[in-house]
Amino acid sequence: MTELERHEYDIVVVGAGGAGLRAAIEAREQGKRTAVISKSLFGKAHTVMAEGGIAAAMGNVNSNDSWQVHFRDTMRGGKFLNNWRMAELHAKEAPDRVWELETYGALFDRTKDGRISQRNFGGHEYPRLAHVGDRTGLELIRTLQQKVVSLQREDLAELGDHEARLRVFAECTITELLLGGDRRIAGAFGYWRESGRFVVFSAPAVILATGGIGKSFKVTSNSWEYTGDGHALALRAGATLINMEFIQFHPTGMVWPPSVKGILVTESVRGDGGVLKNSEGRRFMFDYVPDVFRDKYAETEAEADRWYDDPDHNKRPPDLLPRDEVARAINTEVKAGRGTEHGGVYLDIASRRPASWILRRLPSMHHQFKELAGVDITAEPMEIGPTCHYVMGGVEVEPDTARARVPGLFAAGEVAGGMHGSNRLGGNSLSDLLVFGKRAGAGAAAYVDGLASRAAPVEPDVDRAATVALAPFGAEGGENPYTLHQELQQAMNDLVGIIRRAGEIEQALKRLEDLKQRARRVTVEGHRQYNPGWHLALDLRNMLAVSECVARAALERTESRGGHTREDYPGMSSEWRQHLLACSLTEDGVSLARQEQPPMRADLLGLFDRPELSKYLTEAELAGHAGRPERNG
């Protein structure tokens, strides 16, 4: 083996989006020498794509809000499959995490009395999303990036080196986690995208913060980095993934022109007054309010319209149902022949708000439609349809510390599973990143402090990782990585998409098996220096592993819930709610195990009315539980 570049750290954070940077800041503030590994340039992570805001019950706009209400909304949104402890920590700590961003320099939009303004969003009972126009994700990533820089300036002043305690490795991809002989985390193996040279990190703790898996689907709002790297790294290191069958299809992605199909249209358009209409001009969402939400949504257009100005005395518009409900409704309308010319439905804000107001509240949406589709959203409706947006499933973690099942491995943000149950509410992603990013940083720091000794990477594993990474240059068979990727995306989109059937999922599994075989013969041209074909070839392995998890879990779960809709099992089952599907990797591929959902703590259960609980829980679970006494709110 040639000479390898080697680094030693206390904590290695894989991923430099919101969760990764927040974790790294915490690890560094706890005195740990920390490396952040980023596939892209520093500051380009997928977090920049988040538009609407950060959900946190600060109560700045409606003082009735509290962590308890946020917790309730989150559990309802996830159809009670959420890990309740994560949902509790998230609701309690989100306000502090947002206020902390102001101390780093973030500039949120303000209320009249100078506090952070909060906007309405789907599934949130009160205006709750701290935001900056419709570019909140950019503000978040830039703020965290600038905080990292400020810590580096402190280190320069104190230690004479910017990177003494916190270094960002930009355009560097991790392909394998390294374990010690005792199966504890010992580091990570990767390559520099620029040079193609390999690099080995030795570290007793690794925090995965790699985001999602959307690039396995054809129509997606996700950027190229979302290839499920962290999910796959965790699997190969021996960790478990839970809830992988739950994929969020955001109801409003662009549908035309074809090259922009899938790009996100923020939910704020609806939060700020935009409504969905079919080709007949009908506001169809009133026809799709499910029983579990019947008493919380308006039944008439008049009441829905009054809600924007007087939310205390009117019920909210059904356009603001949780995302899974809206996405399915759009799907049904289009299938019934009431779709637009390009296979979507209309999202209309032009007829409902003045142009100047739209320009102020939704500047990047205006920009996006004008530049990419030639549509002026202040004058005409948008054409939109569902797009793969978020994976609720991910690495199974211990809620308080973000610790995975492999000692020394941690996960935070989209790559972690459990927090959002079967469906995530808009705005809960950015808050999740901050709350659990910080917790992962603290969890890893505490773990490192408690170690008597550090494991060293097993050298043959390093050699093997290098051999695997170089295979596409030597392979014979000539499979094109771009072709394989397109076929994978088509298969997942068509067969394990928004509406699922057993036969189609089985077909998907067969295609995945075939693609796996062909991926072994993938061949790339050129050399190792900044070679996107090679990078994709290596990412493919991760996408295939993660796609198999999605398909297997989707086939196994014979009910419909949140981001998993089975046409052949349309009902939600209280029995199934008690079970999570955990994926792990064996020599034969992905294996599934059913595991018990931990029962919710009594005081949290007490936040819900019994009639509501009876929609989700089994009789046995309800026995001996009175639920919350009848009251308003």
């Binding site: 600060m58 102001e102 320099g105 905080k147 074809p258 996006q368």
Partner: protein
């Protein structure tokens, strides 16, 4: 609906390279980045290009298209005549790594030279109060997606490598201005803007504003106001002192 387009793409690395001609399919509604991706998938698997979001939000896919600094994902093919040859070259101000990818580390070095936001020491998290009208000026500047097109086009450094050491470039002068206008920032930014970040080298030709894909008025709303405050203060220290006292109140 599709047509065959002529593309010329710069291929090469730090040691040299040249423009290569390609004929490639273009479909309705596509942007330059779609066509570059089709080249990768069908004719040039190792064509190096940076991109992330393909929605104009991350600022990764900056290049020069027919000589103009642009984001490839926001340049629609319909802006060219079908028979027109589209030439794509890497950003000129930064060293080429490979094909369309350049070494933009200069920008990250400059970012580190600017002191962080400095809030009043006694202000607790959650107690920040600012008026919308007061944050809007900095908010406009924080729309920056760091595509570095302004840095690339600025003539102070575009063909003057020797100026790079003493000039932060429009993006980072704008960062100084943004902090200077932050209602709660307590640091003195103005002396450093002139003496350390090279504000004086800017002669407000507005090239940066013209190429900004976020349409930030970099010159009018960041650089000129910063210059004005620096000038005021240089001629009259009391003006500066007064502004700081008012700010702290």
């Amino acid at each position: 609906m599709g047509h065959q387009a002529s593309f010329r793409v710069w291929r090469g690395d730090a040691t040299g390279g040249d423009l290569r001609d390609y004929t490639v399919e273009v479909n309705d509604g596509e942007v330059v980045l779609d066509v570059i991706h089709r080249l990768q998938a069908t004719q040039a698997g190792d064509l190096a290009v940076r991109w992330n979001c393909k929605a104009g939000k991350c600022g990764s896919c900056s290049a020069e298209i027919n000589g103009r600094p642009r984001l490839m994902c926001m340049t629609r093919m319909s802006t060219f005549a079908p028979e027109e040859t589209v030439t794509v070259t890497p950003l000129r101000t930064f060293p080429v790594l490979r094909d369309l990818v350049t070494d933009v580390s200069y920008n990250y070095v400059k970012a580190r030279e600017i002191p962080a936001f400095a809030p009043p020491k006694d202000l607790a998290p959650g107690d920040y109060r600012m008026r919308q009208v007061d944050v809007e000026r900095s908010q406009e500047l924080r729309k920056c997606i760091e595509c570095f097109l302004c840095q690339n086009t600025c003539h102070v450094i575009r063909d003057h490598e020797e100026n790079k050491a003493q000039f932060a470039g429009p993006r980072y002068l704008m960062r100084v201005a943004e902090l200077d206008m932050h209602p709660l920032d307590t640091a003195d930014r103005q002396r450093a803007a002139q003496e350390e970040h090279g504000l004086g080298l800017c002669n407000i030709t507005k090239c940066c504003t013209e190429v900004c894909p976020e349409h930030i008025k970099i010159t009018d709303n960041a650089l000129i106001p910063l210059k004005e405050r620096v000038v005021d203060r240089r001629y009259d220290p009391l003006v500066w002192l007064g502004s700081k006292i008012r700010r702290r109140r």
